[in-house]
């Protein structure tokens, strides 16, 4: 890690913000994360990995978190779910915690899918979980906080 990249890890910091489980708030959360990353001069690849995990975890909440969710984006639960995102930096890693009050969903033990069959046999689904597992250094789930708590960590 060079001096510029190291700048943000000298002083542990925490950012926390509440969002809702809506498409608009997926975009709002991405912009919030980008602003923190720019201010803290996170390395580009780390920002991309954080953004992939944020997008996939929030999309999952919006599509599947509601009691009556069908998986369709046009069928978002109203009133929307509550979501809280916390980002913490320390000397060794950055963690992103996402809590929601939707249906219990243990992403750690959920089936992931990689495309490994012919095109005509492919069914969509599970790709997001696969991406989170690959882009984060670690992932943990607990039924805590608002209801579901997922913590993804990224080593520096």
């Amino acid at each position: 890690m060079n001096a510029v990249q190291k700048q943000h890890v000298n002083h542990p910091r925490t950012w926390r913000k509440a969002f809702t489980g809506t498409l608009d708030d997926i975009s709002a959360a991405a912009k919030w994360l980008d602003a923190i990353a720019a201010e803290q001069q996170f390395p580009e690849q780390l920002v991309f990995a954080l953004q992939v995990c944020l997008e996939e975890l929030l999309t999952n909440i919006v599509r599947h978190g509601g009691a009556e969710s069908s998986g369709n984006l046009s069928d978002v639960q109203l009133p929307p779910l509550n979501v809280e995102i916390t980002i913490c930096t320390s000397a060794q890693h950055i963690s992103m915690t996402i809590e929601d009050d939707g249906k219990p969903f243990d992403i750690v033990n959920a089936p992931a899918q990689r495309i490994d069959r012919p095109l005509d046999e492919l069914q969509p689904g599970g790709l997001g979980i696969q991406l989170v597992r690959n882009f984060a250094s670690s992932i943990a789930y607990a039924p805590a906080g608002l209801g579901n708590r997922v913590v993804v960590e990224f080593l520096l």
């Binding site: 992939v52 997008e55 919006v62 005509d120 790709l127 696969q130 991406l131």
Partner: protein, 105 residues
Amino acid sequence: MDNGITSVLLSGRMDVQGAIAIDKKFSAIAEEKKKVVIDLSRVTFMASLGIRTLIMSCKTLASKGGDMVLLNPQPNVEKVLRTSGVDTVIQIVPDMNAAAAIFAK
């Protein structure tokens, strides 16, 4: 293009909002065209719903004997495509000559 190849230039984020924005246009292209190149050089972000749009369009093309090729993705976007295995069903190429060679087979 006069070689029967349709080139589609995408730019920006292929996130949930990006996928929604292009879904219908991609469906229409997949219904109407046969050889389609998706130029990803200006796409800065790709997530699973963006991948879903690509896969569903490619399935439509393949069902009528067509094909899709992904052109010149940025390194982070290419990592997403390869991590999820997209490259096993849609070829990723560095330039238009390579794309044309695939369609010529």
